[in-house]
């Protein structure tokens, strides 16, 4: 079973624009995308990203050891989105930007911290898929949380649907 994530270009560009806004003290911004899981078809399933929740300025906490540290209020908002998404199979995807060209993946801090998020979302939003999206200037990578394997699994393809159409394949420059 392969997974493809699709995001409309308008939403994709809005996410990039928000994540690029400087913060008073945080080194980077983060946000949450809602992703709707579709029924599997012929060994493929789709996750359709359709809504973005930025983290408010006041919900960042000073922390020089990471790019962004967000507080309980921001996490509560994300957990509520996971709860509200049960009926429509909407999961929550953490998103942030590595403002560089080409393929991007998890940094050491990302690899240490991000896997802690989706299990919490999955515990209350069991009908959906939750995960992580990391964007670069012209590429992106995503991971979905596998409740069977209890780990993040990389999604092979992200498609930005719009003009132009962009396809971000796993470990490929686009």
């Amino acid at each position: 079973m392969t997974t493809e994530i699709r995001i409309p270009r308008g939403l994709y560009e809005a996410v990039l624009a928000d994540l690029r806004r400087p913060h008073d003290f945080a080194f980077e911004r983060v946000g949450f995308l809602k992703g709707r899981l579709c029924s599997p078809q012929r060994d493929q399933r789709l996750i359709l990203l359709h809504d973005y929740r930025p983290v408010s300025d006041e919900h960042y906490r000073p922390d020089d050891t990471v790019g962004a540290n967000i507080g309980e209020a921001a996490m509560s908002t994300a957990m509520k989105a996971a709860f509200d998404g049960r009926a429509t199979c909407d999961g929550v995807f953490h998103v942030h930007l590595h403002d560089e060209d080409g393929f991007t993946g998890m940094s050491r801090v990302d690899a240490r911290e991000l896997p802690k998020l989706p299990p919490g979302f999955a515990s209350i939003g069991k009908t959906a898929v939750h995960g992580v999206v990391i964007l670069s200037k012209n590429h992106g990578s995503a991971w979905e949380y596998s409740t069977d394997e209890k780990r993040l699994v990389e999604v092979p393809r992200i498609v930005v649907v719009g003009a132009p159409l962009a396809i971000f394949d796993k470990r490929r420059l686009w």
Partner: protein, 267 residues
């Protein structure tokens, strides 16, 4: 893939052949319009196809069915077979999923597409396919032609692009309640619609051009909708008057959260 083969289309962009090869294309209806589209896409280098048609080649198709032969007619070949033959003749490594039914009977393969071409006869069929493509965030490009009157006859046609974050076919007034109602009232009355090869060629080429722009972005126009009108008497293709005079906001017919599988939800 041979770079020599595509060197004359390298102006499309440095990574254009790679983008083209990875895009999944759906074609619904492989008659006069769809057969042109499939042929052009195979020449351009597309590798991933999902094709729908439940029809066989008949003698009356051979005035316009690209790739169709008298042998196909005698052996009652499926139009799917003709399309696959054209694709594999140019792209032996292509991945082709052929579904010999109406797309509504087995829509699963269509979900994997990034761009779907609709080459169908009725407004209702177009409307249904647009709803499906919107739900799964797929670009939809519709083509169609018709012949009106007889003194002299007039050939008309259209190419419409409906993208998930752009205006839909209702927004641009290609689909209207009046048109759908009128069509329903004439149900069973239509007879054989006149169809000829050259307008289909113009419309298919125009539609393929839109798709190439979507995939490669070579024109930098970043268009997320289009409604082009073909006048077969004058031999012109122009933007419809309706879209020329308007700015379009968010589509009211397909809200951004009306996506994915249709579901009943508890109130």
């Amino acid at each position: 893939m041979s770079t020599e083969r595509f060197k004359r289309q390298s102006f499309l962009g440095a990574n254009s052949q790679d983008q083209i090869a990875r895009t999944v294309i759906g074609v619904v209806g492989l008659g006069g319009g769809g057969s042109h589209i499939v042929q052009q896409l195979a020449h351009i280098g597309f590798q991933n196809f999902v094709l729908y048609d439940d029809d066989v080649v008949e003698d009356s198709n051979l005035n316009r069915l690209i790739g169709g032969t008298a042998v196909d007619e005698r052996s009652m070949s499926q139009k799917l077979y003709v399309a696959r033959r054209m694709i594999f003749g140019l792209q032996p490594q292509a991945n082709v999923v052929g579904v010999p039914s109406k797309w509504q009977q087995d829509p699963s393969a269509l979900q994997r597409c990034n761009i779907v071409f609709g080459c169908m006869e009725t407004l209702l069929a177009r409307s249904e396919l647009e709803v499906f493509t919107r739900r799964y965030l797929i670009h939809y490009i519709d083509i169609g032609m018709d012949v009106h009157g007889d003194n002299p006859p007039v050939i008309g046609g259209q190419v419409v692009l409906s993208s998930p974050d752009g205006p839909c076919m209702r927004c641009v007034r290609f689909l209207t309640d009046e048109g759908l109602t009128d069509e329903a009232a004439r149900y069973g009355d239509a007879g054989d619609r006149p169809q000829v090869v050259w307008p289909n060629g113009v419309l298919a080429s125009t539609a393929v051009g839109i798709a190439i722009d979507l995939v490669t972005g070579w024109t930098r126009k970043r268009r997320n909708f289009d409604y082009l009108v073909y006048d077969g008497t004058r031999g012109t293709v122009k933007p419809s008057l309706y879209i020329q005079k308007r700015e379009f906001g968010p589509c009211p017919h397909f809200p951004t959260d009306a996506i994915g599988d249709p579901r009943f939800t508890e109130l």
